[in-house]
């Protein structure tokens, strides 16, 4: 049979063929965007936290301290990377490298605008979910390999948390997918040209935001690195650039989660006056701002409460929501 018909071969042909430029530029853009974006988000986080707490936040480097995170990155790069004696060295070394893979891969399918999407995939949403689960694995690797009890507890919490919160996350996504009848992200966005899914599926949207906050280990679900209990959770033993990689992955995951929410519920690139990409990025950053805002407002849940919340509140509600959606779609 003719192998060249396979999608993957087509992909490789596509990548190496005439539109090489698009592929390479896209890849380069992602590689530049990921660290810059996380540096920016760190700055946003510190600024928002500062102003919420009636203080100015970073002010020294650059106007309003905007270059502060870059300077911090330089500082972290200069720092020694300490490996504990009793650590499992290969895993300890590999974990921060693996944690950035999903951060980069997931950008491939996010439709920033009708034309700005690196690859259009039939299974775009599945790809994001599949690769996000790898980051959980690398957190576990890092936490276990550190051979530190705080790290191990943090890692075990991370695993339990990601298992518990992936279910309502997928269920709430499914109700949108049922409505659009497609796993394609661009398809879902173009379906929302008139009404945003947020209006049609408010419950699913709220559950999605809650669960993605939990999946990205942000407060009030930041039990994985709960500093008042576990010092710093799974990355207690990490220093220098390795720690920075974990941070980068966390902030990129935040951005990806927000982008997913924008795609699924907030109409993607749709909006008046500006071009698509502006709207998309604005919406995504607004959602990031909301997560930051939530973080600096609420206390942290306890672990059993976190689990109870997922299993007793979110899963029943999201199942109910899915059921209602399915019935409504069938009836209409």
């Amino acid at each position: 049979m003719n192998m060249t018909q396979l999608p993957i071969i087509k992909d490789i042909y596509g990548f190496l063929g005439p539109d090489l430029l698009v592929g390479v530029v896209g890849l380069l853009l992602v590689l530049i965007f990921v660290p810059l974006n996380s540096a920016f988000l760190v700055w946003v986080e510190r600024k928002v936290a500062g102003h919420i707490q009636l203080r100015p936040g970073p002010m020294e480097v650059g106007p309003h301290g905007i270059l502060q995170s870059l300077i911090d990155a330089v500082k972290l790069m200069c720092k020694e990377m300490i490996t504990p004696d009793l650590a499992d060295k290969p895993l300890f070394w590999m974990a921060p490298c693996i944690v950035v893979i999903p951060a980069i891969v997931c950008f491939v399918v996010i439709p920033f605008s009708p034309v700005m999407q690196i690859r259009e995939l039939n299974v775009g949403i599945l790809l994001i979910f599949a690769f996000s689960s790898i980051s959980g694995l690398s957190i576990m690797m890092g936490g276990w390999a550190s051979n530190n009890k705080y790290s191990l507890i943090g890692a075990v919490r991370a695993v339990a948390q990601s298992i518990a919160y992936e279910i309502p996350l997928l269920l709430s996504t499914m109700s949108v997918i049922i409505m659009s009848n497609s796993f394609k992200m661009s398809q879902i966005v173009s379906d929302q040209s008139t009404v945003w899914n947020f209006i049609l599926q408010p419950v699913a949207a709220i559950i999605f935001i809650i669960c993605s906050t939990a999946e990205t280990n942000r407060a009030p679900f930041d039990l994985v690195e709960a500093e008042s209990e576990l010092v710093s959770g799974f990355h207690t033993e990490y220093t220098g650039m390795r720690d920075a990689l974990f941070f980068m992955a966390e902030y990129t995951a935040m951005f990806i989660a927000s982008s997913m929410a924008v795609v699924l519920f907030f109409g993607g690139w749709h909006g008046p006056f500006f071009s698509g990409i502006v709207w998309f990025v604005l919406k995504a950053y607004f959602l990031v701002f909301v997560t930051v805002w939530i973080r600096w407002t609420f206390p942290r849940l306890r672990f059993d409460q976190l689990m109870n919340f997922a299993w007793k509140v979110l899963i029943p509600i999201s199942l109910l929501n899915l059921l209602v959606t399915a019935i409504v779609i069938k009836v209409l």
């Binding site: 895993l91 599949a130 695993v159």
Partner: protein, 178 residues
């Protein structure tokens, strides 16, 4: 005039190289999954093997199954296994010695099985079907799953339901001590 790199590097070769890489991932992961004594390494080897198999599935023409493989095996099953890490002895403890006889037997048995299987595969002659247009979309799978393979679908659901109930029952069972 657009520059194409396909003149320099033939895409088919890249595809083949990537395929080999995927197979190497799979086999290396599989070996990592059985040989090291630390269970965490085994589980991570399994994850690597599953990642390789995901790639292989892409070559076998199904993005959907590939993604499901990654989602279910790496995202769910490996994670569940990692839960069991809590049962494994701590790092600084000495690991139990392997039973040499057991290893030799296992190697011999699996080798024999492998030889037999390869002989069988080589001896069989498959007739590849004619090249037909294929519908790779998920819609077909979904459609077939709910019509022709309805029983399979129901069976999976039933199995999972029973598994969940059963595992809860089993896990809550504690032997009474005398």
């Amino acid at each position: 005039m657009t520059t194409t790199i396909s003149d320099l590097i033939p895409p088919l070769m890249v595809a083949q190289a990537a395929f080999v890489l995927m197979i190497v991932f799979t086999l290396a992961g599989a070996l990592l999954a059985v040989i090291p004594k630390k269970i965490v390494h085994n589980i991570l080897g399994l994850a690597l093997a599953m990642f390789g198999i995901t790639g292989v599935y892409l070559y076998l023409g199904s993005q959907f199954v590939a993604m499901m493989q990654l989602l279910i095996y790496v995202g769910a099953i490996c994670m569940t296994y990692i839960f069991a890490i809590m049962l494994s002895p701590p790092l600084e403890k000495e690991l139990p010695k392997r039973n040499k006889l057991k290893v030799i037997t296992a190697t011999a048995v699996s080798f024999v099985v492998f030889i037999v299987m390869v002989k069988m595969i080589m001896s069989l002659k498959f007739e590849p079907i004619a090249d037909i247009a294929r519908d790779w979309s998920i819609e077909t799978i979904g459609h077939q799953l709910l019509t022709r393979y309805f029983l399979v679908f129901e069976l999976i659901s039933l199995l999972l339901a029973i598994a969940i109930i059963g595992s809860i029952m089993v896990a809550s069972f504690v032997r009474k001590r005398n």
